[in-house]
Symmetry: C2
Subunit: 216 residues, 2 copies
DNA sequence: TACAGTTGAACTGTACTACAGTTGGTCGGC
DNA sequence: GCCGACCAACTGTAGTACAGTTCAACTGTA
């Protein structure tokens, strides 16, 4: 702790801030899936130059929330059955790989804590359920002890979180809790096969639920 | 096969082409690790506007070859012991996860083929050894049946390939072949534990070799 | 000689303008 | 109702300008 803690001159660029802001707005639903991000409009509204917006959007592209189409500019990603399946498949492989490892005590504690937070949200703050849900799985992936995989999983998570919010999945909290408790229990008991099976089931159910919502 | 096959008007932007070109040049050693990509210089040399170069470099950032530093612009990534370890750890986790799965016949064939290509390169085209080496591992990761993980692994591979070329690792081809044959044999025999152990050893050795080179 | 402070050139970040080419819709003709 | 021409909006790219930052060379001082 230095005497200069907290004193930090802005160590970021306008484009970066714009990217963060746009990301928030998109996640909040200001732009729907498939929407185009019109440069001039955004630039005018936010009072910055168009090329700055372009940079911001390129930065956004890093996080996977938008992609570029030639002569159409930036487009917000849109969920499809294939994309959702691919997403969950990757998740399932990573979590499966994580669950066959023996957790260190603090890792087990982190997972347990994540689960408790999820339970808490279920009763006290339903809007946070999705976040806590994803955080629980992030804690599982952390068992792999790989920062690169943690980051990758986080990017999958970000994408998924977007899909979940736009699809307004309204799963009953009870189900969610039950599924996650089953995973947690298996992990705590050291029953790897069951943990893996539970994750598999959890993914399967989730994908089906989402695909059902997709079809409206 | 349509009569119009191959007829495709340029479905790409200048910035994209520049990104590809720059990527090639960097991989070829035109820019070393830690080098800054000076926008005006590149723009002048290639006869394009500076903002176009900026866009190209932002696209490059997607592939992980460069990263941006505030007020210093784009900088070519540089290997450090930590980064190399993180890279190989992620690789090891992914390949381990892949090797506990039961390969389908065509997957096994693909891995075998990759190995044969590696052997061929060892005698006929030493410059291709690194590529074939990485392709072999990509074939292993393909066992996971996840396009998202395939893509992620490919990005790790790209990064690693760069480090390998700049570090000019001159491993003897014999060693490489031997290590990979050990992995292949274990896979073919369905001996998962041994396959995983071989991958682990392979990664361990590789990291140590690279770290040794890093220290000059 | 070593070191701190100053200075200036080079470069990035951002804004603004301009224009050719593309896209997507609208409108009139059939 | 379908087709093609036309038009408005927008992207991709070029070019210019300038404030703020970085970095290395230079200068003065102990």
């Amino acid at each position: 702790m230095s005497a200069l803690d907290g004193l930090e001159v802005r160590r970021t660029t306008t484009a970066q801030q714009l990217a963060d802001g746009l990301s928030e707005r998109i996640m909040a639903g200001a732009f729907g899936p498939g929407d185009r991000l019109r440069e001039s409009a955004i630039a005018a509204e936010l009072g910055v130059a168009r090329n700055t917006i372009r940079e911001a959007v390129r930065i956004l592209e890093l996080t996977g929330l938008v992609r570029y189409e030639v002569n159409r500019g930036a487009v917000v990603i849109a969920p499809t059955a294939e994309k959702i399946e691919a997403l969950y498949t990757a998740r399932e492989r990573l979590e499966t790989a994580a669950l066959v490892r023996t957790p260190r005590p603090e890792q087990l504690a982190a997972i347990t804590e994540a689960f408790d937070a999820l339970c808490d949200a279920a009763t006290n703050d339903p809007s946070a359920i999705v976040d806590r849900d994803l955080a629980f799985h992030q804690a599982i992936v952390a068992l792999l002890d790989s920062t690169r995989l943690d980051e990758f999983f986080a990017s999958l998570t970000q994408e998924l979180r977007f899909y979940l919010t736009v699809l307004a999945k309204d799963e009953t909290a009870d189900e969610v809790i039950a599924e996650h408790r089953a995973i947690l229990d298996a992990v705590r008991l050291g029953d790897r096969d069951r943990a893996v099976a539970e994750i598999h089931a959890h993914v399967e159910v989730s994908v089906e639920r989402l695909k059902a919502v997709l079809k409206n």
